[in-house]
Structure formats: C-alpha cells, structure tokens
Amino acid sequence: MGRYVLKRLLWMLPVIFGVAVVIFSIMYFVPGDPARFILGTEASADQVAAKRHEMGLDDSYIVQLGRFLFNTFIRFDLGTSYLLNTPVLENLLIRLPNTLAIGLLCMLLQVIIGIPLGVTAAVHQNGFMDRLCMFLALVGVSIPSFWLGLLLVLLFSLKLGLLPAYGIGGIQHFVLPCFANAFAGIATQARQTRSSMLDVIRSDYITTARAKGLSRRDVIYKHALPNALIPVITVLGNGLANIFGGAVVIETVFSIPGVGLYMTNAIGNRDYPVVRGSVVLLAVVFSLIVLLVDLVYAFVDPRIRAQFEGARRRERS
C-alpha cells in the first residue's frame, strides 16, 4: 500500500507540471494587458510599455514560461501579485483553509446525508420514502447553488436570525454556504446510492444473508452498502470538481475570503501570478484529495486492498 501511495504521489508531479503549463499558456494568450490595468487609462503608451518591460511581459513565451516553471517548481515561489504587490503563496495559504473547509464540509454533507437518503430510497423502493427522497434529489440537482444560498440567508438569517448571513468566524458561518453548495451533490449522491443499492440488493449473497437469518440492519449496512459504495465513492471523487468550482460562487454570495474569490478577482484584473498560483495550488489539493478518495476504495473493498498487496508480493517474488 505504501508503494502504491508513493507511486501515486510521484505521478502527481507531471500532472501538476502539465496544469502549470496549460494555465500559463491560457493566461498568456488571453487578451488584456495587466500593465494597462495597473496603471489605469490615464497612463500613456510609453508608460505602459515601460511597465510591461519591468514586469517581464515583453519577453517571449518560452522565456516567460521557463521563468514561471523554474520559480514554481524549483524555488517554490508563486510570485507577487501585480495589483496587490503581496506574495501570492502567502495570500493563498491564508485563504486556502476557508476553501478547504467549504469543500470538505460539502463532501461530508454529501456522505452523511446523501448516502442514507439513497439507502432509504432503495430499501423502500417504489414506496413513499423512495418517492420523497427522489423528489428531493430532483429538486437538489435543479436548484442553482447561488439562488439556494440567498434563499437560505433570507430564511435563516433575516427571518429567523439563527445564522450569520456572511463572513467567516466560527463553524456557524459555514452552515449556510456549505449546505447551499452541497445540496446538488447530496442529490446526486442519493440518486447514485439508490441505484447502486438496488443493484446489490438483488444479488445472491444478499439473499443468502437474509436466508441465514441476519437482521435487516446487518444485511443492509454490513453486506449491501459496502458493496454498493464503490460507484458512490467514484461519484464523490468526480463531484470534487463541482464542489470546488461551486465554492467560487458560494464565496462570492457569502463573502467568504477563499481561493476561489481570490482567483476570480485576479482573472478579471489579469493578475497572472495570482491566477497561475491559485490553479497550481488547487491542482495539488485536488490531486491529494483524489488520492485519498482512491485510498478509500481500498479501505472499503478488501478485494482492492488485496490487489495492492498482491501486486507487492508478485514484485517481490
């Protein structure tokens, strides 16, 4: 297992390298002049040209790319924000916990609400609970997160005064944003769980388990659910992109200073170091979380764990 993890970590390097090259290239070719943006419309063409030279923007693509890759991967320096004149890495590390908090809490909500919802629907197939759960799931995938967020604010902050409407502080500040961002994912998880459970419930070994006299609870949670979780975990992993992408919208609606908002502002301002640095950092975080999700497969399914260990034994022999 250790070798598998190490191999995956090493494979991350070319992935992140590729991401860095792609984002650099995109920002290089996107129209818009950061020097003009910094100096404003009053600056003359000569002033703008001088500023571009100072910022290294008049160097060739290869030179700029090489400089960026060297600074990022050798010196671990993501540069300085053109507009704010502050180190990008420092600002990202301040903001990353907020984005991670939203992302991880959303994943947690998807697991603790979506999976039981799907199990309930599957166990009561075609019954009232099934229809109710699937109706909620349909509503969940249909509602935009920003709209839901504002509705939740109107209800829980304005009308009931129970939760804060914006900002960061204690965990109560994350309740509404995470729920708004996770709602669609909860719905997707519920639907996937229901589908997987229905497949598994019809299996022979489930019939055997029932025939052996095991309790219903044991049949569902000890035998059916673990086997149904593989596709569910896959969906959870794939949903990461939606979670972190949705975090940008949620951070704006709830004024949470996260990486998404930082990056979005930088895109509009053509603040290249911030955009590049944010994407590279998110790529690292994303890769690590996907690795963790993959490791969960091994935790859940002993067959996959055995495969990892079997590969190691084959290598030794």
Partner: protein, 544 residues
C-alpha cells in the same frame, strides 16, 4: 459492543479535532460574530465603546499605502492614513492635513513643510525624510503614473521637503500630487515586514487592531492623535466613534440583508435602484433607515470612433444624428430608475468649474426627425447602417446600451452591442477596428478640465489622438489652454465646451446618483472626494 462504541467515540473525536483545525478563524477572529447579529450588537456599542460598522463590496486586498488604487483601498485608506493635503468637500479648497504650509520657490520647485508634532500610531515621529521616502518608494514602484511628473524630492530641513517637477504644473497637478499617496514613517513601513499590507501604521486618530483578509478590518481610536488643534484639522480627521469595522460583503443583496439585520450600520455600495428604493420614502424599510444621495463624480459618455476608415470619421452629420436620436431622459428613467440627471455638456454641475450657463444651452435634445435628416446628410438617407457599440459588462452600461440600441433603430442604424469585462474592454478601446463607439465614464476628483483630459488629451495617448482616435489640433489647443493655471478661465472653458459640442466627438449622456444608506444611529455623513464614507467624521447618536 464496548469496542464498537469506543471505536465510534474515537472516530467522532478525530472528526471534531479535524473540524476545529479547519476553522482557524474561529479562534483568531476576535471580532467574528459567534451568533447571528443580535440586537445587542446592533445597538452600536459594546461594553461602553461606540462602534460603527461599514459595509463595502470591494476587498482592498492589501492595506499598504502604496497599493494600486482599487475600490477597497480607497474605501479604507482615509481612515488609516493621512495625506499631505485634503479637501473638506468635493471640489473644495485644499486644506493641509500633514502639511502645515507650502511655498513655491520657482516654476518647478515647491517647498512643503509638515507639522512638527506628527506621530504615527506606533509612536514614531514624522519628518521630511519620511515624505521623501514614501514618494520615492511610490515612484520607484511605478504603479501611480501621476507621480511621473516629479523630477526629484529633497530634504530642505527636518520638516521641509522640496518637490521639484519636470515641467511647470498644470491645473490641479500640485493638489493631485500632494493628495495622491498617504505618508507614513519610514521606520514603521520597514518594521511592518510586508509593506504594511496587513500591519498598517498611519497617523490618523485610528489604528488597525484586527485584519481578517478578505473579510473584516477593525480600527480603534487612539488616545494620542498628534493634531490637537481642532481649527487645523480637516473634517476627515475627526474621531466621533471609538471603533470602526469595515465588513467586506461582495454581494449587493447580502449588503441589503446586512443592513436589515443590523450587521452593518452604513454602506455606500448599494447601487441597484430597486434595492435602494426599499430604503427610500415609500419603501418597506424607509422608517428604519436614512438615504443620502449624492451626484457621482464620473459621468457616462459616448465617444465616437473617428479613426480613418470608420463611419464616424470626418462625418459630423452622422455623429450629430446619433446624438439627436438618443433621448437622455429615457436613459435616466430606463437605466437608472430616475436616479440620474441628463447632461448638458461633457461633465456635471458637481464640478466647481462647470459653467451653469451651459445648462441653458441646447445640447442635442431628442429629435428623431432631425436625426433622420442628418442621417440623409451623412450619406444614409435610407438608413441601413450597421454599427458596433463597445461597453463594459456591468448592469448600468448594458442597460444604457440596450436603450441606445432602441433609439437608433428608428433612424436606420442597427446597433450591435459588444460587452466585455473590464480588462478586455480597456484593451479593445485601444483597437480602432473593434468598435464604432463605446460607453464609458469620465471623472475626476477636482476639476472638470481633468475629466476632459481623461478622454480628450492627446498627450495621454500617442500625442496626436484622443482616446477615441480623434485627431484635431484645434481641440488639443483649446484643451491645452484650459488645463494651465493661467488659462483656466471662463472664456477658455466656454470655447472648448462649444467646440466639443459643435464637433460632437464625445456625447455626454448622464450622471447618476450614488447612495449612502444608514440606520438612524447615523445622523450625518461625510464623504471624501471619491464619495467614500469617512466613518470617524460622521455624526452619530447611539442612543437610538
């Protein structure tokens, strides 16, 4: 069974520990609300201290005095830092803030003497060397083009610095330079370690006590503000409240909710007319809030692309046809819900050097028949002209563009609207093949001539053309006279305005109103020259 419960307990404990670790701000943000804003907090005072909470939509990103100007920095800087000079009102007389006196030595040199008793909130005294340091540092950074007119700064004595300029100054240049950047002490700037990005040290009556990046900035009143002579204090130097909190709220709907719940006391950043109307007379929130309105500095204008080969080049009749076709009153009502004023020139009466006699002069009042007649003169008797309008992708500009599109249709012009985000918009403006006209704003913090300079002064571009590619030496000659101190006369201003109107290179559309909304605890407000709230100088009644 016991083992399972034990295992579950440890899993829950680990999860709780992880969650605590993920929320660093729950421990660090002393000002963070631990519950929804309560009536106790909304009372505006905590433990005997008066607090005012300001809602702003822009994140400064950095509190450095030398940061490139953005909506966030200009909203908070005046509370943290002081400038050499300041104005008490928009367009009002400049008053020394850190500067005690000034003297013109020769055509290019001005001696600036600062007060001898200036001390920053860290206890460091300020001298002329600090003035030289901050201006030299700002110039070297190259992010403030206005400073390029400075040739050098030297220290004359402990409290006097000599500013030497490269050329004789134009109107407003000296005031602009002396109010361009805040002055801080060199020792505090270097001691901060991050150019004062998160640890600013200014000289106002307030010091920053807490910064939650992207979320909140908290300032508390110091008890040892250096300026003890009230008669010498600009209005912006007052300290009528013990603590000030700037809350960064990005979404305007959230700003409205924050006002309603009492999370903030005052904001100048609710610009949507529909949202503002709830707080105005007749609205559902009118009895709990006060709305102050002010005319904005920037005006909306429609420059015509006169680059060679474009339809408007050398075609005065076409430019005038478009001007007559547009009903500015319709834009006032349609795009701004009545919260705007149609212009009668390129500029508004807010500027002290605006000549109110221009209001009585005709200025292309809406006349479709005349517009059609001019279209025929322009070579389009049957219409059939296709034009491209460039505009930024904000709500106001898009609404105006749509309305203009509707007005041009009856005279035979099919208008394509091309809207872009700001960076792209500014890039495309420099491409004469990308558009035929564009919607933009021009503004200044002092004189209308500086507003004119923004779009029409060729020296700001390639020395020959204006922003919209107009090459007209007479236009430049008339403008050049207006912008000098000696030439800034009514006659010269009238001449330029008349020439601009006759040639219709730029059509002044409207100027809109901005709003400051406050709860009843705020009894009077003070805005700076950029219409940002100066919270320490507002008046309060915390008994309400």
């Amino acid at each position: 069974m016991k083992e399972k419960r034990f295992s579950l307990f440890w899993k829950a404990a680990v999860l709780a520990f992880v969650l605590m670790g993920v929320f660093p701000h729950s421990r660090l943000a002393a000002g963070g609300n631990s519950q929804a804003q309560s009536s106790a907090q909304a009372a505006g005072s905590v433990a005997g201290k008066s607090i005012v909470r300001i809602g702003i939509t822009y994140d400064p990103g950095t509190l450095s005095p030398l940061a490139a100007r953005n909506g966030g920095t200009i909203a908070v800087h005046r509370t943290i830092y002081e400038f050499l000079i300041d104005r008490d009102t928009f367009g009002g007389e400049m008053k020394g803030s850190l500067m005690e006196s000034w003297e013109q030595v020769d055509d290019l040199t001005y001696n600036i003497t600062i007060y001898k008793t200036i001390v920053d909130t860290a206890g460091n005294s300020m001298g002329a060397s600090d003035v030289k340091f901050i201006y030299d540092t700002a110039k070297a950074m190259g992010t403030l083009p206005k400073l390029n007119i400075i040739d050098s700064i030297s220290v004359v004595d402990q409290h006097t610095a000599a500013f030497k300029f490269k050329d004789p100054l134009a109107l407003g240049d000296l005031e602009g330079i002396l109010s361009e950047i805040p002055v801080v002490t060199e020792v505090s700037y270097k001691a901060s370690g991050d150019n004062m990005a998160t640890r600013p040290v200014g000289t106002t009556a307030y010091r920053v006590t807490e910064v939650v990046p992207g979320s909140k900035i908290v300032l508390e009143k110091t008890e040892n503000y250096w300026q003890t002579d009230a008669s010498k204090m600009p209005l912006a130097a007052k300290s009528n409240v013990d603590a000030i909190e700037f809350h960064i709220i990005r979404e305007s709907a959230q700003l409205v909710i924050a006002m309603e719940t009492g999370a903030i006391d005052i904001t100048a950043h609710i610009g949507n007319a529909r949202q503002v109307s709830r707080f105005q007379s007749g609205g559902d929130l009118a009895d709990k809030f006060t709305v102050y309105n002010y005319m904005n500095n920037p005006v909306f204008a429609l420059p015509f692309n006169c680059a060679p080969g474009r339809p408007f080049a050398n075609n005065l009749a076409l430019r005038q046809a478009v001007a007559y076709a547009i009903d500015r009153a319709g834009i006032v009502n349609g795009a701004f819900g009545g919260n705007a004023v149609a212009l009668k020139a390129l500029g508004s009466s807010k500027y002290g050097d605006y000549n109110t006699s221009w209001d009585a002069q005709p200025y292309y009042e809406h006349d479709v028949a005349k517009a059609k007649s001019l279209m025929a003169q322009a070579g389009y008797p049957n219409g059939g002209l296709r034009l491209r309008l460039l505009c930024p992708n904000n709500e106001e500009s898009l609404n105006m563009a749509t309305i203009i599109q509707g007005y041009l249709s009856p005279i035979g012009i099919t208008l394509e609207i091309a809207s872009f985000e700001n960076a792209m918009f500014n890039t495309l403006k420099a491409d004469s093949s990308a558009y035929d006209m564009f919607i933009t704003t021009y503004g200044s913090t002092d004189y209308i001539v500086n507003l004119w300079k923004l779009g029409l002064y060729a020296a700001n571009y390639d020395g020959q053309r204006t922003e919209s590619f107009v090459v007209d030496s007479r236009l430049q000659s008339l403008l050049s006279q207006c912008i000098t101190v000696a030439g800034h006369t009514t006659a010269n201003m009238n001449a330029f305005n008349a020439y601009l109107n006759d040639n219709m290179y730029v059509y002044g559309l409207v100027v809109n109103y901005g709003f400051v909304i406050s709860n009843k605890r705020v009894t009077d407000i003070l805005l700076d020259s950029r219409n940002n709230i100066i919270p320490g100088s507002c008046a309060y009644d915390f008994s309400k």
